[in-house]
C-alpha cells in the first residue's frame, strides 16, 4: 500500500505552476518587446513612405519643375534645363531680378531636394543662376 505524500503532490503542482508562471512572465515581456518593435517598424515604414512621397519622388519633382518653368513668369527667361541620371540642372546666365526672385521662391516652397544653388549678381537688374535638383 504505497502512497504518495500529498505534500509532494502539492509541492509538485506548486513547482509546475511556478515554472509556468515564470515562463509566462518571460513570454509576456517578449510579447511586449515584439509588440513595441512591430509598432516602431510600422511607424518607421510610414515615415519612409511619407518622406519618399514628398522628398524623394522623381515623378513629382519632374512634373513640378516642368510646371514652374512653363509658368508665364519664366517661360521666356532663358533658363536651360538639362537632365542627368540622378539630377536636373538649371542654368540661367542672365535672369532679370523678377524672374530670378520668382524661381528661387518657387524652388524653396516646393519639396525639391536642392543639391546646389549658385546665384551671382551681375548688375542691379540681372543675375546668373545655377541649380542642381536631386531626382
Amino acid at each position: 500500500m504505497k502512497q504518495i505524500n500529498p505534500l509532494y503532490i502539492i509541492l509538485l503542482l506548486a513547482v509546475i505552476l511556478f515554472v509556468v508562471l515564470f515562463k509566462l512572465m518571460q513570454t509576456k515581456t517578449e510579447l511586449h518587446e515584439a509588440h513595441n518593435s512591430f509598432y516602431k517598424s510600422k511607424e518607421m515604414v510610414h515615415n519612409i513612405v511619407d518622406l519618399r512621397q514628398s522628398w524623394d519622388n522623381e515623378k513629382n519633382t519632374k512634373n513640378s519643375l516642368a510646371r514652374i518653368l512653363k509658368s508665364s513668369q519664366l517661360r521666356n527667361a532663358g533658363i536651360v534645363q538639362s537632365a542627368k541620371r540622378d539630377r536636373i540642372e538649371l542654368h540661367g546666365s542672365s535672369l532679370d531680378a523678377k524672374s530670378a526672385s520668382y524661381l528661387i521662391n518657387r524652388l524653396f516652397n516646393e519639396a525639391f531636394v536642392i543639391k546646389s544653388m549658385k546665384i551671382r549678381r551681375i548688375s542691379k537688374e540681372r543675375a546668373s543662376l545655377d541649380v542642381e535638383i536631386k531626382l
Partner: protein, 308 residues
C-alpha cells in the same frame, strides 16, 4: 484480471501480537476493535450515493476524530463503516507492519459474516455474529469456539485503502486542490501558447509590411534608408530656414547680396554693405536667431559661411 501483488492473509486485533518478517506482504483483516459498523436502512440506490451521508449518520456515535467511511449493500440494507486511517496505521506500525507491507485491507465484518461458530482470535477473545454484525466477545461468552484458520480463506470484494496521509489532506480535498491547480496551470499554459503565437505573428508582420511598401526585407536596411531620408529632410528644411533669414535681412539702399552659393555641406553668402558697423549689426541679428556663420569683412563685402 487483478495485477496487484498477492499477500499472506493476516488477522489483526489491537491486542494480538504479530511476528512479521521484513518485506512480507499481507492482506489484512481488521478486527472489529478497529472500526465502527452500522446497519443502515435508507432509500438510496447505491453505496457511492450513500457515502456522502455517512459522516452525518455516524455523528455522535463515534468519538471525535478524522474518519474515513465505507459502505456496501447487505440484503435490503447497507453496512456502513467508520474508521480512523491514521490510528489503524499507527497501531499496525507499532506491531511491526508498515504501510509498504500492506497489500489489501478488509473488515472482519465482510470476511466473517457467514461464520457458523465463534472464532478464537487470541486466548481471551472470539469473533461472533450478533444481528448480522461481527463482534468481538470474551471467550467465556461463546458456547463453541473454532480456531482461526485463514489458510484457505477466500476474500470478499470489500477491501479498503488506508489513507496514510489523511491527517495532512483528505483525498477529496487533494483532488479539489489538484483540480484547482491543474486548471490554473492549464489557463496559464493556454495564455503562454497564445502569447507565443502572438510573438511569432509580431515577428513576421514587419516582413509583410516591408514587402507591401516595396522596401528591403531587413529592419537594419530600412533603418539606414530612414536615417538617410530624415537627414536629407532636415538638411533641406535647414537650407530653407537659413535662406529665408538671409533673404529677409534688412539692407540699405546701395547694399545687396552679390553671391549666394549653396553646396552640399556649406552655404556661402557675400553681401555688399555700406560699413563695418552694418556688417556687425547683420551678423549679430543672425547669431541671435541661432545661426553661427564664419564671417569675414573685407573691402565693403561681408562673407558669411554656414555649415549645413
Amino acid at each position: 484480471m487483478d495485477f496487484r501483488k498477492t499477500g499472506s492473509p493476516l488477522f489483526v486485533d489491537i491486542h494480538t501480537t504479530i511476528n512479521t518478517e521484513e518485506k512480507q506482504i499481507f492482506n489484512l483483516i481488521l478486527s472489529p476493535s478497529f472500526y465502527w459498523v452500522k446497519h443502515i436502512t435508507i432509500p438510496i440506490k447505491s453505496a457511492s450515493e450513500l457515502k456522502k451521508f455517512l459522516p452525518s449518520l455516524f455523528e455522535g456515535t463515534v468519538p471525535e476524530g478524522k474518519y474515513s467511511y465505507y459502505a456496501y449493500p447487505d440484503g435490503d440494507t447497507y453496512l456502513a463503516f467508520a474508521y480512523d486511517d491514521k490510528k489503524i496505521l499507527d497501531i499496525l506500525s507499532k506491531k511491526g507492519i508498515n504501510s509498504e507491507q500492506i497489500n489489501r485491507v478488509y473488515f472482519a465484518q465482510s470476511e466473517f459474516q457467514q461464520i457458523q461458530e465463534a472464532i478464537a482470535i487470541d486466548d481471551d477473545s472470539v469473533l461472533d455474529i450478533e444481528d448480522h454484525v461481527v463482534i468481538k466477545l470474551p471467550k467465556a461468552l461463546a458456547e463453541t469456539v473454532v480456531p482461526l484458520n485463514l489458510d484457505e480463506h477466500v476474500f470478499s470484494e470489500h477491501d479498503i485503502t488506508l489513507a496514510k496521509y489523511s491527517h495532512i489532506a483528505t483525498t477529496k480535498s487533494l483532488i479539489q486542490f489538484s483540480l484547482f491547480m491543474g486548471a490554473l496551470i492549464a489557463i496559464y499554459m493556454l495564455d503562454l501558447v497564445v502569447s507565443a503565437n502572438k510573438i511569432k505573428e509580431f515577428e513576421a508582420a514587419p516582413m509583410e509590411l516591408y514587402a507591401e511598401h516595396k522596401l528591403p526585407a531587413t529592419k537594419i536596411q530600412n533603418e539606414v534608408i530612414f536615417e538617410t531620408l530624415q537627414k536629407q529632410y532636415k538638411q533641406q528644411i535647414k537650407i530653407r530656414e537659413l535662406s529665408s533669414e538671409i533673404l529677409d535681412l534688412r539692407l540699405g539702399k546701395d547694399e545687396y547680396i552679390s553671391l549666394y552659393d549653396l553646396q552640399a555641406k556649406k552655404l556661402t553668402v557675400e553681401l555688399k554693405l555700406a560699413s563695418l558697423k552694418k556688417s556687425t549689426v547683420l551678423t549679430k541679428s543672425l547669431k541671435k536667431k541661432g545661426f553661427l556663420p564664419k564671417e569675414q569683412y573685407k573691402n565693403g563685402t561681408l562673407k558669411l559661411e554656414f555649415e549645413l
